[in-house]
Structures are given as C-alpha cells and as structure tokens.
C-alpha cells in the first residue's frame, strides 16, 4: 500500500543505518550514579518533591508537573538522592539545568505502580499520562497530554510516525522490528484514547523488516501500515501528514486543525505502558552509532544514565572520536563532553570519526544556485531567507515565511558553498522572537502609562471640582444673606452659560489688538516715506488688525453688558 501524496523537495543522504542494526536491542547495565534533569521536555522544570538523603524507589516521582507547563520526572532506579543542583545537560547551548543525582543501590526496587482505572474519563487518562511523565520520544519532547488535548474534538486520523527518516538513527526501527506487538498495543491504546476514525502507521520503505513485523502484528486490528518512499525529511510531522493524507498543516497551526494527531511509535508504546501498567517513562531505546564505536547498536537504558557509561558499553574508542552528536547528523547538535545524562528525547548518539564527519569547509559566497530551493520540503526560498538573515533584514525574512521553516537542514546539506543556512534562520527567528517579546512588553508598559495618566487626570479634575465647591461654599458664607441669593444666581448663570473667555482674557485680547494696530500704523507711516511698494500690503495688514481690534472691543463690551444685566 503506497501513498498517493507527496511533499516538495527533500534529499537522499546516505542512510548509514546498517551499522546499528546488526545486533538486537541490548539492555544497558545499571550505572552506579544517575543524573535526572528536571526538564526533559518542552516547557518549564517541575517542582522537586524529594530532598537530599531521601531513599527513592524505581518509578517514584521526583518532581511534580503542572499540565500545560511542566512534566514530572521519575526515579529511574532505586537509591539515595545525593545532590540536587545544576548540572550540564544535553542541549545545543550547553546550558546547566537543575538535576537530581541518585546513587543507585543496585536493587532496582520498584514502587507500587497505579495503572489507569478502566472507568477513567478521557481527561483523567490524559492526566494519568502526564503524571507518568509521557512526552514525545521522537526527539521534540512535547508533553503528550498537551498534544492530545490540543484537539478539541476527536481527530479523523491518528498517525503513528515510524518514518525515522534521518540518517544513522534506528531506535524506532529496532523497536518496530523487535517488539511489533508492543507498538501495535501502543497504537491501539492511543487510538482508543483519542477515538480517531482511522489509525495509520507511516514507515519509510528502507525498513522492510519493521514493515513486515508490523503488518503481521497489525493483522485484524484495523491499523493500516503505510509505506512511504525513503526521502528526508518524510518523518517530519507536517511532511508525514502530507504524505499520508495529502493535507497541509496550516501555517502557525497544529495538526489538530485539520483533524490529524501524530505521535511517534515509541511514544505510543510509552502511552500503553503508562495506561495499562502505570509505568512512568524511566527508560528508552537509544541508537549508539558512529565509526568511533566498536559495538554500535540500540541500547535500552534508564533515563539519567551518564552517557560515558553507555558509550563505554558501546565500545567507544576515545582516540577515534572526533564529533559526538546527539540526534541525527542533520538536525542533531554537538556535545562537547560525555559526562551528560541520557534524557527522554535522546533518540541517537553518534560518535563519529574525523573521516566520517570531517570539519565543514570554509563557507563560500552564496551563488544563488537554487539547490536549497529544490531541496526545501516547505517550498521556501532558502537563498532569499539567507540573504535577508545575513543582511539583518529579519522582517523581510519573516515576510518570506521564515517561521514556516522546520529547520530540517536539507538546505545545509545541499549547499555547494557550505553555508550553515539553518543557523542563520535560527538566529533570525531568535531576533524576531526577542523583538516581539520586547514589543509586547513595551505595549504593555505604554498601556499602563496611559492608564495611569488618565487616572491622574481624572483625579486632578476631581480635586479641582472639590476645591471649587469648597471655595464657593466659603464665598457664600462670607457674603451674608442678601448677596447669597445673587451669588447663587451668578453661579447658576455661569454654570448655564456656554464656557467662554472671562473678562480678564477679553481685556488682554483687546490690548494686544490695539498694540498691533499701533505697530501697523507706525510701519505704514515709515513705508510711505521709504518703501512705497510695500504700502498696499501694509495697508491691508492694518485693516486686518483694525477689524480684529473692533471685534475684541465688541466682545469686551458684550461681556460687560452681560455682567451688568446679571
């Protein structure tokens, strides 16, 4: 069963998957020390529940999460908490995060697990997944509960992503070919949970063993195994959805907007184990590969296991190691040390030699050859984006749909000038995000300022009003009984009359106008003797000023008249 749909672009890098597929999945021995970062997902770190010196059991929650914000982590084995503090974690930035250090007691004694009750509602099931720390295991680490809840109604199609398109990575392939029954169980659990009309599993055609195993396991379940052509990045969520349904996820939207839910196959297995057994995510399968390893393969290890422990297990030859990459060669990032813990999103670790991953050549100028454009799976114009990004014209890049870039790195791979294009796009996105944040803050500040200003003006006016009222009251008290009536009347009249200039202003205006007339008369007299050509103009000016004086005098006399009549 092939696919009828396609996405644009894509590349065919050497897949280098065989190296890690020679042996079945191995279990890593328990390490003596484990380091569990609080944040292994998209979001904030959870709230720590344990203290230094506490003894914890396998599967016991170490932190508490808040749905939509943070996801809890669990003790990967039984032991004692020896420290809680910052430690370097696998992240492109090399940042430190709060980690919980556990000294394993070697007994691996499990805490009591609570499966999800059979009569639990959908929402309760989602929360159960959250409590057991389920996040997307394909690499993004998006909290599974939040993703499931993003669909306001039941999706039409549930897609399990088993494409695994990036070179070197075989963790999902190993899982599918060796444990097809648990993958299908996971698919059924998810399918039942979200109630989709259709459940598809998408796999690239370079994994015939996995396809065969899943087909057999899926027999009679209604789950369809859909084989897609091998082409990077067919495993990108949007690309796989496009391949299987022909639909495009709207820009800035979610798959839920077109009635699709996409989950990685390993995540599906975790969902099943969470619901059925109450088991939290404390281990995962990770591909260890690269020429610097003598025993490459897929290793199932506890979260928090130090990477050097696992690299030793995979037979690392430190003299051969040139680059250590977490994730794949296209979307992964370099690690500078091996003392980092295994985290939930670590699907692959490549220990490459210098021949395998030579240092990239010095970038040359972009010659607009357009190879990147032919490779882009989203139909962007990467060379234009690069042009804008490198010139600091980030808004133009945004106008050219920078934020639709999925950062797959296909353009980097084809670029004949060896330009790190995706780095430019990430930088540009960062600048724009920062700018938007600052803009939002500025807007907020301005709004607050304007509100304060309005409030102060209002208060000022109220004070003024009170002052006037007090003054009036004082005046009334001072000018005894007979004047009081008149005073009251005056007050009433002035309140009723339209607000106009008072008498002082009128007098001032009249005086100013008179002065102007006098000045104009003097100028005219002077001009009559010295510059006759200016006379007509000055005469006109004098007439104007005279008229104004008349008007001012009339206004003043009217005002006097009115005051007298009161």
């Amino acid at each position: 069963m092939g696919t009828r749909y396609d996405f644009p672009g894509g590349i065919h890098p050497p897949d280098n998957k065989q190296q890690s597929l020679q042996t079945p999945i191995r279990q890593a021995p328990l390490p003596a020390q484990l380091i569990v970062p609080l944040r292994q997902h998209r979001g904030d770190p959870g709230h720590v529940l344990v203290a230094v010196g506490d003894r914890v059991l396998t599967g016991q929650p170490l932190s508490e999460g808040e749905p939509g914000l943070s996801v809890p982590v669990h003790a990967p084995t039984s032991g004692t908490i020896t420290a809680i503090g910052p430690h370097e974690v696998p992240h492109p930035s090399g940042l430190e995060e709060t980690c919980i250090h556990i000294e394993a007691d070697g007994q691996d004694q499990w805490c009591e697990l609570a499966p999800c009750p059979a009569d639990a509602s959908t929402l309760e099931r989602y929360d159960h997944l959250h409590r057991t720390g389920v996040v997307g295991l394909g690499g993004a680490g998006f909290p599974t509960r939040d993703k499931l809840q993003s669909a306001s109604e039941a999706p039409k199609v549930l897609i399990l992503n088993g494409a695994e398109c990036e070179p070197y990575i075989t963790a999902d392939q190993a899982l599918m070919r060796e444990r097809p029954d648990s993958v299908i169980a996971g698919a059924l659990a998810l399918w039942q949970l979200v109630g989709a009309a259709q459940c598809l599993i998408g796999i690239e055609d370079n994994k015939p063993d996995a396809i065969e195993a899943l087909r057999q396991a899926a027999e009679g379940t209604g789950i369809e195994i859909r084989v897609v052509p091998t082409r990077y990045p067919s495993g990108g969520e949007k690309q796989l959805i496009q391949l299987l349904t022909g639909q495009e996820v709207p820009s800035g939207g979610l798959p839920a907007d077109i009635g699709v839910l996409c989950q990685n196959v390993a995540t599906a297995v975790a969902v099943d184990r969470s619901l059925r057994l109450g088991e939290p995510v404390i281990q995962r399968i990770t591909t260890f590969t690269g020429e610097a390893l003598t025993r490459p393969g897929n290793i199932e290890a506890r979260i928090g296991t130090p990477l050097d422990h696992l690299l030793f297990e995979a037979g690392l030859d430190p003299d051969q190691l040139h680059r250590l990459i977490m994730g794949g060669p296209l979307m992964g990032f370099d690690l500078t040390t091996t003392g980092l813990p295994l985290i939930k999103t670590a699907n692959c670790l490549i220990a490459g030699t210098a021949e395998e991953f030579p240092d990239s050549p010095i970038p040359q100028p972009c010659i607009r050859c357009g190879l990147c454009e032919q490779a882009c799976p989203v139909d962007l114009l990467p060379q234009q984006l690069y042009w804008f990004a490198s010139a600091g014209e980030h808004h133009k890049a945004e106008h050219f749909d920078l934020f639709d870039c999925i950062e797959c790195g296909a353009c980097d791979w084809v670029c004949p000038s060896h330009l790190p294009l995706t780095d430019y796009y990430r930088h540009s996105k960062g600048v724009l995000r920062q700018e938007k944040k600052e803009q939002a803050e500025a807007d907020h500040a301005r709004q607050r300022f304007e509100e304060r200003q309005a409030r102060m003006e209002r208060e000022q006016a109220e004070r003024e009003e009170r002052r006037r009222a007090r003054q009036q009251a004082r005046e009334q008290r001072r000018s005894g009984e007979p004047a009081e009536a008149g005073g009251t009347e005056t007050g009433a009249a002035s309140a009723a009359a339209p607000p106009g200039p008072d008498r002082e202003t009128l007098i001032q205006r009249r005086d100013q106008a008179r002065q102007k007339v006098e000045e104009a008369e003097a100028q005219l007299a002077e001009a009559r003797e010295q510059t006759p050509e200016a006379v007509p103009k000055l005469e006109r000016a004098l007439n104007k000023h005279r008229k104004r004086l008349d008007a001012a005098e009339k206004a003043l006399s009217d005002a006097r008249e009115e005051a007298r009549s009161c």
């Binding site: 644009p8 010659i367 607009r368 050859c369 454009e373 139909d379 050219f400």
Partner: protein, 333 residues
C-alpha cells in the same frame, strides 16, 4: 556532493562539445581567444582580490573567474585583437563583478557586461570579424596566422578570413531576395548554417548534461527557447520576409545563451516560476532585438535587460509555502 567549485568545473566541462565544434569549424582563433580571456580573467581577479585584501588563492580556486573568462572567450569573435578581448574581460571582472562585491553579489552577468561594453565601443570589430568557416577560407588560417592576427604582429590580413555570420547576413540579404537565393550562399552550407548548426548542437548537448547533473534546471532554457520559437513563428513565419526559426535557434549564440549565459545563477531569477518568466523575457527580447533592432545577435542585451528585472521577479514569483493558502508577494519596505 556538489561544491561551488565543482559546479563551475561542470559548467566548464559542459562547454567542451560546443568549444570543440567552434575550433573545428572556425579555427584556432577560438582557442586562443578562450585561453587569453581565461588568463586575463584570473589575473584581473587575483589583482582585485589582492587590492580588496581577500584570500587570493582560495578564491581563485572557486573557478568563477576562469568560467567568466571562458564564457566571454566563447562569445567574442575569434579573430578579435587581443586588447579588445582584454578590455571586455577586465571590465567583466572589475566592473560587473567586484564593484558589486564579488562572487554572488553581482546584479548583471559579468561576461555579458564585458561583451556589451566592447560591442557598443567597437561595433565594427565586433560584428564583422567573425571568422568564416575554415572550409570557405581560400587558405585556411593556421595556428601561427591566427596568433599573428590576434596579436597584430606579422603580415596576415584579417579580411580574407572574416565575414558576416549567417544570422546577420540573412537579415540584410532577404530584403532583396527570396529565401532560396539567400541560402544558396556558401555560409549556409547544406543544412541550416555551415558549422553553426554543430556549434549550437554542441552547446545544446552540454546544456542537457548540466540539467542531467542537476547543476541547472530546465526552466530557463525551455522558456527561453520556447518564447523565441513562439515569436519566430508568430512574426517570422515567412522565410522570404524574415529570418526563419531554424536560423534563430541554430545559427547564432542561442543555445550557448540559453544554457550557459541565461542560467548563470547569480544574476538569474531563483524561484522556478521566476526562472520561467526570466527565460521567456530573454526569448522575447532576443527576437525583438534581432528582428527590429540593429544587432544581429542579441543574447547580451536580452540577458542584461532581464537581469534588471530579477529582483522584481524574485519578489513576485515566490512559490506557495506549504501550509499557506496562497503564495506571498512583494517585500516589506
């Protein structure tokens, strides 16, 4: 994996069939011209890089200057005096390339800027000095004679070896004759245009190789040749009145222009739709200038004029980004 250097080398290699055909039919002058232009281009590039304090050797290795020289050498008449070729090549590298910022930053095709500059400056030498096919020369010009003409030393007179190209000749001769009379002249040979047809087929073959190697895409050549064909059929359907389609396609620099000049990525449109418009524009201009202008071949002017339109085309022919309803347009100021 393609590198910029390899792209340049592939393009150079793809000119070989055309180059060999040119040498075969028009003599050693072509090779001398090509080598001279390549040498001047690289020397000029090295000088400018040195002045601009850029890495000289590494940048020269990218092959872009050598390619510019090669393309110019292929475009210029083979028996042109050395100093005109020098002016053309040095201007291409200095004015058209480095004054804009070097490789990748030029708005205009450097080779065509050099060509157009000498075409308007030395029109006589540029339009009348095309070598006659060797078989039509009374005593075919040898290597030494070619060098002598090229350097201006020695006694070889150039007039005996040169003449108008078929494209030029037909345009003027058809005014007072019918097609069969015009094409009876020996420069038309037995088929379309003696020698030229093979030269054009050579460049066509090289161009197809570039498409097969994915160094260029089909968009520009196809739309260019399509537009030229359309114009020639629409306005020049009568061979007794105007130059026929066969000559347009196979007698001048058409194939060379379509596959090697118009496809220069730096100065061409980049989106697939943009490339179609760009190529079609060149095709229309090519016919317009040839039929109603005063230049017999018009690749240089057609390409340069469309170079001007490239930023506009790039902004208004964006593909539809996946996830969007329709393609974005324009650019914010």
């Amino acid at each position: 994996m393609l590198t910029s250097q390899r792209i340049m080398l592939w393009v150079m290699a793809a000119t070989l069939p055309g180059l060999l055909a040119l040498i075969h039919f028009f003599g050693w002058g072509v090779l001398i011209s090509v080598l001279w232009c390549m040498g001047v281009a690289m020397a000029t590039e090295a000088l400018i890089l040195w002045i601009r304090a850029r890495p000289v050797q590494r940048t020269l290795m990218d092959g872009s200057a050598a390619l510019t020289g090669l393309l110019l050498g292929l475009s210029l008449p083979p028996l042109l005096p050395w100093w005109i070729a020098l002016v053309a090549t040095a201007s291409a590298i200095i004015l058209a390339k480095h004054l804009y910022g070097g490789l990748g930053s030029n708005l205009f095709n450097p080779a065509m800027v050099g060509y157009a500059l000498v075409l308007v400056s030395f029109p006589e030498a540029m339009t009348t000095r095309w070598a006659l096919p060797l078989s039509l020369q009374e005593t075919p010009l040898g290597l030494l004679d070619s060098l002598s003409v090229f350097t201006g030393l020695g006694s070889a007179s150039v007039d005996a070896f040169t003449g108008a190209t078929p494209l030029d000749d037909y345009k003027h001769a058809i005014d007072g004759a019918v097609a069969s009379q015009v094409t009876a002249a020996p420069i038309y040979g037995d088929r379309i245009a003696l020698g030229w047809e093979w030269v054009n087929l050579g460049f066509l073959a090289g161009g197809l190789l570039l498409i097969q190697r994915r160094i260029i895409t089909w968009h520009i050549p196809v739309s260019l040749l399509g537009a030229l064909t359309f114009m020639a059929l629409l306005f020049g359907y009568d061979p007794d009145q105007s130059v026929p389609l066969g000559l347009h396609l196979l007698a001048g620099g058409t194939m060379f222009g379509a596959f090697f000049i118009a496809t220069d990525p730096v100065s061409a449109a980049t989106s697939n739709r943009g490339k179609l418009w760009y190529g079609a524009g060149i095709g229309v201009l090519l016919y317009t200038i040839r039929a109603w202008g005063s230049y017999p071949d018009a690749v240089a002017f057609a390409v340069l004029l469309m170079n001007l339109a490239v930023p506009f085309l790039d902004y208004y022919t964006r593909p539809r980004t996946r996830g969007h309803q329709r393609a974005g347009r324009g650019v914010p100021s």
